[in-house]
Every structure is written in structure tokens, then in C-alpha cells.
């Protein structure tokens, strides 16, 4: 078999970028997706995509600074070479997307316009109206359609990835997928398989993610032996619109343009918010953070809103957690000019005009930093070696992962507008790797069909047994809701060990209950019921590893916040005391870094229970430093830290000298 195909699972930004490049390299691609690729979750991204550009460069920006902002924002939890490579590719990627016809907003001279996003001082973010993700996805979708017409790409839309197929040596030889219309199973032998299946927000019930973001494909790879990295790092967005079906994102620009967050002082005050006098309102962000007011960073805003509703019981509504985000004091014309697009979203889905009535918002699960563990090969300059077999390869040889479903680029927290970049980057970058992987490794054709037949039979068996469970007592939709509620309660904004321990047991019990789920549709034609039930079953192993990872990580890092292990600011007010406390603070920080600056690696044990281990992080390019934003005594700590790092580089410099002279 000289001619091998590549199987790309998932047609979001990452999957389409990989497909396009593969086709261009002359490789035939099978592209499998649950939904028509043009309808993938990537369409939801509104804000924009980051890269250094001509303008920021002249203000002192560089690829290195983008790289630095990304690892700093991610609390140093990501291996640095892939991030450096991504930042280096940024400008090329935006240029490419521009050439593909993405209607980026323009300056009056006709150049691409940029805006500023959180976590940086530079205007790095290129954007296309309020639908950047949609525009980027369409540009890639169009190119892939072009290759489809040429015959290089074959799309399998409305197909579900069920399992990778491994040979005796443990190498991935392809996969088995299922047609969601006819329910037929099919083997996809491939020189390499790449998963680009996005996030897993549905584990939290409702999130800002799309309905196919169940994480099922990743879970299936994990259950087949792939490692999962940094699972406990889940980003929560502070302002989303709570809905019965979904939590829709309300852009941060609402606060940026002067929106005020408040709750009535009287719990669940039934009055019309407009008639509640100022004195009976608590503008809690402004009260607690007089300096930043409503513009505190994402994670702080999230925690405070969460706290006021749960701990203090001041939620606006009785049966639903939410606070007011109020824009009604801003003139209508200003609102329409600056926020028109996003206010329309609120109005469309809530049926209420936010220019007149305060919006109700609450934090929502938004992004999964964790994902399948993937490898990389470091180059001499600290970037990656293009085309290396190892890039983006999971712990299963021949099985790769890209996009939101890998764990590689965002560490403990993702910067806004960096995800679209990492998706396109990893997609483009993995293509030469996959092309090289094709045709490598000898195999016996006879064996192969046996392997696939075996897996198809296993899947058919699973499917049949699910359909046979008509007499079950559990309702899969109800169970999903329970799982979501539990996960949202214990594993989002604030984590506490005394909640995580029982929650883990509870999820184990739910996984057990799942085996008694009844499917109400026993037919074999477009049976969405059984597909969902399957995906639900595959959520438990991931939910478990999230909980266990969170339970074991006794520290605060990025999106993972455990009050019991928070490092408070300085208390002393006199210079000497402050200095002393700052030294102590830095000692603790260093000790914590030694202990916890490690990737969490989960492997799937028997019964779907995770085994957790830790792996050192490559921080060779930028040494870790504390994130001090908003901390009391930040300046004193920073001073101590600077002295220490100066000493450290001094040492390193001296240590390196003899070697340098010798070379």
C-alpha cells in the first residue's frame, strides 16, 4: 500500500487548516465531522485573532513579546518551544487568511485594522466585524471545498468518530466511524489520523460552546490509551447570558464601554431593576476594586460574580444565578455605535432591549486549556522542527491532535484571541508531519483488515447493546443535566477539596448509572438519541480526570483557583516588614513553582478512572515569574523578584561562559 490517506477528524479551524495543507502537499484526505464542516463550533468566535503586526512592531512589539504574553498569561504551564513557534508564525498566518479573502476590518488606507485584547499592551488583534471565527472558518472551508472538487479531499459529514484502530505495536492505523444518518459503521484505514475535534464544554451541561462540543472523540482516544494533559484547566468567561439551552457569550467590551455590574442589596429584590434606587444597589466590583472598577481582569470578575451569588446569596433571581450588567446609563446612540452587534445578540435571544433594561449575566464555561497530550521536537533555536514525526503526536504513535483538543498552547489560562491562532497554526504545522507519517512503517495488508473488522464488530456490539437497553430506568438527558450541574458547581471558578472529593465519587456513581440509561429511540435511522447517549457515556472519563486533576493540584494557577492555597498579598505597611514579607512571598512562590509547575498527565485506568502523573514543563526560554496583577504589595514583591532573577541570570551567564568559549 504505497498510497496512504490521512484521516482528519473534525472540520473546525484546525481540521480544515490541516486538510487544506495536506491536499496541497498531494495527500488524499478523508475529513470526518459530526456536522457539515462549515457549521463547526469555530463559527462562534467573535473577538479576533492575535499576531504581531507592522504597527505594533513599531511600538516595540515582537514575536518574542507575543510569546512572552502567552506564556505569562498561561502561568508558564505550557512547554515553550511550540508557543514560540506559534507566535513566530502569527504574522504569516494572518497574511495567509487575508489572502484567502477573510474580510478583515480595514483602516482608511486599506490596511488591516487591529484592536487591543486582554493580556497585552499592544493592538495585536485582527478582526472581521463581530464574526472573526466565522470568517476565518469560511475562508478555510472554501479552500477545502476547492480541493474536494479536485478530488483530493473526501468529506464525511454527519459522521461520528468512534475509536482509533491500533495494531499490535500500538501504532494507530486508522479509525472506525459511524454514519449518523444510516447508522452504518465504516473503517477508515489511514497513514495517520489527526483529531481536531475541539472543546468539551458539554461536560458542564451548558456552556458557551456548541452542541457537538461533547469531547467524545477525545475521550475515545483517551480510553484507547492516549494521555490527557492539564485537564483541570477550564476557562470560565465572566459574562455570559444564561439561557435554558445555552450560555451565550456577552463580549467583554460591554464592560469596556462603561457597563456597570451590580446586584440589589436586598436578596432577590422583586422590583423592576430600573426602579431600584442607587442606594439599594451594590456595585460590588467598584466597591471591592476601586482602582479597576468593572474592568478587573477576567478571572477576578468571574470569581467575584460567582461569589456574590453563591456565598452571599445576592443573585438577582431566586432559581437562577445572575447579576445585572447595566448599560442603561449610556446614551442610546453611543451604545448603538460601539456595541450594536453584541446588544442585538442579547435582544435576539432574551427578547429584552439592553439599552433600556439591565442585562442579566453570569459566568460560563468557555474554553478547555487541557486536552490530548501531544509531543513536539525542539529545534536548536528554541522553536520546532517542521515536519518532525513527533510534532502534535499523541502518546499513541500515528494519532495526532490539533486545535482546542490538544493541551499544548495555552497552559493554565488562554489569552483572548489566541485560540484561533493556535488552531490554525497547529493545523497548518501538522500537515508536513502527517505527510511524512504516511507510508512510513511497514504493515501486512491481511492483518490490517482483521484489525478493522475486530473494531467494527466491537462498535456494533456497543451500539446494539445500547439499543437493547429499552427497559432502563435512567434518562440520558436528565443524567447529563445532573453531571453538568455538579461539574459547574465544583470544578469551575472556585475549587475546594472538600467538594471535589465527594464530587468525584458522585461522578463515579453517575457513570455507573449511565449503564442503566434507556434509549427511547430504538430505530436504526438518524438515531440522535443513541448517539447522544454514547457521547454522554464518554463524558465521564474526562469529567473524572478534570475532578481528580483539580483535587490533586493544591495551588492556584491560571484558571485553577483554590482559595485554601491562594498566596495573599502583603500585610505589613512598614518598609522593613514589607521587604521581609516580600522575600517570604518569593520563597513560597519558588517552592510552589518547583512543586507544581508541571503538566498534569492523565492516563485512563480500568473503569475509566484516571491515573495522574506529572511532567516537567520546558521553561528554558522564559523563566517563570509571578503574576502580580491586582495583588497588595505587588511593587515590593516585584522588586525582590527582579533582584533574584538578576542574580540568577548572572549565575547562568557565568556558568555558561566556559562552554561558550570552548565552542
Amino acid at each position: 500500500m504505497a498510497h496512504e490517506r490521512v484521516l482528519v477528524v473534525g472540520g473546525g479551524l484546525a481540521g480544515l487548516a490541516a486538510t487544506m495543507r495536506l491536499a496541497e502537499l498531494g495527500i488524499d484526505v478523508d475529513l470526518v465531522s459530526l456536522v457539515p464542516v462549515k457549521r463547526s463550533h469555530s463559527v462562534c468566535a467573535q473577538g479576533g485573532i492575535n499576531s504581531v503586526n507592522a504597527l505594533t512592531r513599531q511600538q516595540g512589539d515582537s514575536e518574542w513579546k507575543h510569546f512572552d504574553d502567552t506564556v505569562y498569561g498561561g502561568d508558564f504551564l505550557q512547554h515553550q518551544p511550540p508557543v514560540k513557534e506559534m507566535a513566530d508564525w502569527g504574522p504569516k498566518i494572518i497574511d495567509l487568511m487575508d489572502r484567502l479573502g477573510v474580510p478583515f476590518n480595514r483602516t482608511s488606507e486599506g490596511f488591516r485594522d487591529q484592536r487591543r485584547f486582554g493580556g497585552t499592551l499592544y493592538k495585536r488583534t485582527a478582526f472581521a466585524g463581530a464574526t472573526t471565527g466565522q470568517q476565518l472558518l469560511y475562508a478555510l472551508d472554501e479552500q477545502v471545498r476547492r480541493w474536494e472538487v479536485e478530488g483530493k479531499v473526501r468529506k464525511w459529514e454527519f459522521w461520528d468518530f468512534l475509536a482509533p484502530v491500533l495494531d499490535e505495536t500500538g501504532r494507530c492505523r486508522g479509525a472506525v466511524c459511524q454514519d449518523l444518518v444510516t447508522m452504518e459503521f465504516r473503517s477508515f484505514p489511514a497513514g495517520a489520523v489527526v483529531l481536531a475535534t475541539g472543546g468539551n464544554g458539554l461536560i458542564y451541561g451548558r456552556s458557551t460552546m456548541s452542541m457537538v462540543c461533547t469531547g467524545s472523540a477525545v475521550s475515545r482516544a483517551y480510553q484507547a490509551g492516549a494521555w490527557y494533559g492539564n485537564g483541570e484547566f477550564i476557562q470560565v468567561h465572566p459574562t455570559a447570558i444564561p439561557g435554558a439551552d445555552k450560555l451565550r457569550l456577552m463580549s467583554e467590551s460591554a464592560r469596556g464601554e462603561g457597563g456597570r455590574v451590580w446586584v440589589p442589596r436586598k436578596p432577590q429584590d422583586p422590583r423592576d431593576p430600573r426602579s431600584i434606587p442607587e442606594s439599594e444597589r451594590s456595585y460590588f466590583l467598584e466597591e471591592r476594586y476601586p482602582k479597576y472598577g468593572n474592568l478587573v481582569p477576567r478571572d477576578i470578575a468571574t470569581r467575584e460574580i460567582f461569589d456574590i451569588c453563591t456565598t452571599e446569596g445576592l443573585s438577582v433571581e431566586q432559581d437562577r444565578l445572575c447579576v445585572y450588567l447595566d448599560l442603561t446609563h449610556i446614551p442610546r446612540e453611543t451604545l448603538d455605535r460601539k456595541l450594536g452587534g453584541i446588544l442585538e445578540i442579547y435582544e435576539k435571544f432574551q427578547g429584552v432591549d439592553p439599552r433600556v433594561t439591565p442585562m442579566k449575566i453570569f459566568p460560563a464555561v468557555h474554553y478547555s486549556m487541557g486536552g490530548l497530550w501531544v509531543d513536539y521536537e525542539r529545534s536548536a533555536t528554541g522553536g520546532l522542527v517542521e515536519g518532525s514525526f513527533r510534532n502534535q503526536q499523541t502518546s499513541i504513535p500515528g494519532l495526532y491532535a490539533i486545535g482546542e483538543c490538544d493541551y499544548q498552547y495555552h497552559g493554565a489560562n488562554r489569552l483572548g484571541a489566541n485560540s484561533l491562532l493556535s488552531c490554525i497554526f497547529s493545523g497548518l504545522f501538522v500537515a508536513p508531519t502527517l505527510a511524512n507519517a504516511c507510508g512510513s512503517g511497514s504493515r501486512a495488508a491481511g492483518d490490517e483488515s482483521r484489525l478493522f473488522d475486530q473494531e467494527v464488530r466491537r462498535q456494533e456490539e456497543r451500539h446494539r447493546s445500547l439499543l437493547a437497553r429499552t427497559a432502563g430506568v435512567e434518562n440520558p438527558y436528565g443524567l447529563h443535566q445532573e453531571l453538568g450541574t455538579l461539574m459547574t458547581r465544583v470544578a469551575t471558578v472556585v475549587r475546594r477539596n472538600d467538594q471535589l472529593v465527594p464530587a468525584y465519587d458522585e461522578v463515579c456513581r453517575m457513570a455507573e448509572r449511565w449503564t442503566r440509561c434507556a434509549v427511547s429511540d430504538t430505530g436504526n435511522w438518524t438515531n440522535q438519541n443513541v448517539v447522544f447517549t454514547k457521547a454522554l457515556g464518554d463524558m465521564f472519563p474526562i469529567a473524572k480526570l478534570i475532578l481528580k486533576g483539580a483535587l490533586l493540584r493544591d495551588e492556584c494557577r491560571g484558571a485553577h483557583f483554590k482559595p485554601a492555597f491562594a498566596m495573599p498579598g502583603l500585610k505589613a505597611t512598614d518598609p522593613v516588614g514589607r521587604r521581609q514579607e516580600a522575600e517570604q512571598w518569593c520563597d513560597t512562590f519558588e517552592a510552589n513553582t518547583r512543586r507544581w509547575l508541571k503538566s498534569t498527565i492523565a492516563t485512563c485506568g480500568p473503569g475509566g478512572d484516571p491515573e495522574i502523573s506529572y511532567q516537567d514543563v520546558d521553561t528554558s526560554l522564559i523563566p517563570p515569574r509571578p503574576r502580580l496583577y491586582g495583588l497588595v504589595g505587588a511593587d515590593a514583591i516585584e522588586e525582590v523578584w527582579k533582584e533574584r532573577s538578576a542574580r540568577a541570570t548572572d549565575h547562568a551567564g557565568r556558568a555558561a561562559q566556559p562552554a561558550g568559549a570552548g565552542a
Binding site: N105, E142, G478, F532
Partner: protein
């Protein structure tokens, strides 16, 4: 103006009396398999504030019981983003084509009495219940070569400079999510259903299906995309190809100017402008070709 619409909706909702604890009645036109008979089934789900048609369908899936308490298979339907950007959830709601995710129950009840009616799109073959096969719509994009013909993905610098005016002109067209509302409402767009013949190979069937699609009207959606790319400095380089496609059988000439497309497009895309521009381009192109031959 917006406020008035909202307040009205609220006022009317109160009149319609849907409140917490009450039930919302839904009537769904179901069909088990593509060639099967369709039939009506009624459901009731508990009312909730800000409910949309998707949440109704979710509840129906969870309860899997019809109004009279019979156990029935859950209704099948398509959705993904729930934000009206992916184009999945098009259906006929109270007789009109729209996106289920942005169809608020309060408004529907205010509009149309006390029962909500859901039907699958009528211009595409039904797969099951509310799920239809919209491959013809994507075929339209292939037909008009809706892409920028770049040489490849190697780094060749930025794209062409584009004025803000051009960007503002192109951007709305570029938000088309291939939902098919414009096609559903178009009186000139009629259903094409190709059924596999006994013993026909997958490949032959595929070819026959595509030929059937190509012979029928491409529809406003593809015409508009063709215009989008004909306006792009690089996309324009194959403008002739697109004009050829638009003037072949099933091309722009099939439009009867009913302008329903523009009225129902959930993205408010100026489709009639695109159609008229395509008409103009076709006029010029056809005349040029007459003399250039």
C-alpha cells in the same frame, strides 16, 4: 423602534397567558424515513422564560412522550451553535422558514395563538423528522466556485489592500451561514430529490445526484456568494468562470424577483442587490462574449 417591538411582544405574551408552570403546546410534522409518510404528532412541554424552539425540542427529547402520554421516539433535528451563526437549525416554524435557535417561544405565541407548529423545510428531502438533506446547497457553492483561487498556503505576503468601503460591502455577504432560508422561501427554488436506483453504484448515484442539482436553480445564496468573490481583487481573477456558471442551466435567469429571499434571510444579507448585480454582470458578460467570439 426596537423597544416597541419588545414591549409589544411582552404585552401580547401576557395576553396569550403563557406563564411559568404552564405548558407550551407544539405540533410537529414527523417522518421516520426519507420515503416514508409524514404524520403530525403533538407534544406539551413546561413553559420557561426566554425559551426558544431548541429548548422545546430538547425537552421533547428528554421526555420522549407525546401529548397523550404515549412513548414515542424523540424528534430528530439539527442544531449546533444555538447563536444563529452556524446555519444548522433551519425549519418551518408556524409556517415560516427561520432558525429554531433564535425563535423565541414568547414571540411565537404572541404571533400565532397557543400552539407552535414545526415542520421540516419543504425544498429539501427529509432525512427524518425535522432533519433535511441540504447537500444541494453546498453543491451550489461548488458550482459558482465560491472561493479565492490562491496559489497555495505558502507565505507570499499579505492579501490585496481593500478600502473600508469595499470591506463594508463584502462583509455582510460573507456572513452567509448556508442556512437555506432564502432557498426555502424562494418560489423559484423547487425540491430536487434523487433516489438511489437498484444496483446503482455509489459513484454513479453521486454523479446523477450532482447533475440533478446542477440542472435546477442555484438560488440566491450561491448567487450572492458568486458576487462576493467577483468583487474580491483576487477572487475576481476567475470571475468569468463564475459568470459561466451563473448563466448555465439553473443560473441567475431562474430568479423571478419575488424577493422573499431577502425578506427571510436571518442575517439580513442584501440578496436582491447581489442578484441585481449578478444580472448586470451577466448582461455585460453575455454581450462581451457575443462580440469577443
Amino acid at each position: 423602534m426596537m423597544i416597541r417591538a419588545t414591549d409589544d411582544a411582552h404585552a401580547m405574551t401576557d395576553a396569550a397567558g403563557a406563564q411559568r408552570g404552564e405548558l407550551v403546546r407544539v405540533r410537529i410534522l414527523r417522518q421516520d424515513v426519507p420515503s416514508g409518510e409524514s404524520y403530525w404528532e403533538r407534544f406539551e412541554v413546561p413553559y420557561e422564560r426566554n425559551m426558544n424552539v431548541i429548548s422545546i425540542l430538547q425537552k421533547i427529547a428528554a421526555q420522549a412522550r407525546s401529548q397523550d402520554g404515549r412513548k414515542v421516539a424523540p424528534v430528530a433535528w439539527d442544531c449546533n451553535c444555538l447563536e444563529e451563526v452556524c446555519g444548522s437549525c433551519t425549519m418551518l416554524i408556524n409556517g415560516r422558514t427561520r432558525m429554531a435557535c433564535s425563535a423565541l417561544v414568547d414571540r411565537l405565541l404572541a404571533e400565532d395563538g397557543d400552539e407552535i407548529e414545526l415542520r421540516p423545510m419543504s425544498k429539501f428531502p427529509v432525512v427524518r423528522d425535522l432533519v433535511v438533506d441540504r447537500r444541494r446547497l453546498f453543491r451550489g457553492l461548488e458550482k459558482v466556485e465560491a472561493w479565492v483561487p490562491v496559489e497555495g498556503s505558502y507565505d507570499l505576503g499579505p492579501g490585496p489592500r481593500i478600502s473600508p468601503d469595499e470591506q463594508e460591502d463584502a462583509y455582510p455577504l460573507s456572513t452567509c451561514m448556508s442556512c437555506g432560508c432564502c432557498l426555502e422561501a424562494c418560489p423559484q427554488y423547487t425540491k430536487v430529490e434523487v433516489v438511489r436506483r437498484e444496483g446503482e453504484s455509489e459513484k454513479d448515484f453521486e454523479a446523477r445526484r450532482k447533475a440533478a442539482y446542477d440542472a435546477a436553480f442555484v438560488g440566491a445564496h450561491a448567487v450572492s456568494q458568486a458576487m462576493l468573490f467577483n468583487a474580491h481583487p483576487t477572487g475576481r481573477m476567475i470571475a468569468d468562470e463564475r459568470m459561466k456558471a451563473l448563466t448555465r442551466q439553473g443560473g441567475i435567469q431562474m430568479c423571478g424577483n419575488a424577493q422573499n429571499c431577502v425578506a427571510v434571510c436571518p442575517k439580513g444579507i442584501p440578496l436582491t442587490r447581489s442578484i441585481a448585480r449578478a444580472g448586470r454582470a451577466a448582461t455585460v458578460w453575455a454581450i462581451k462574449r457575443l462580440f469577443d467570439r
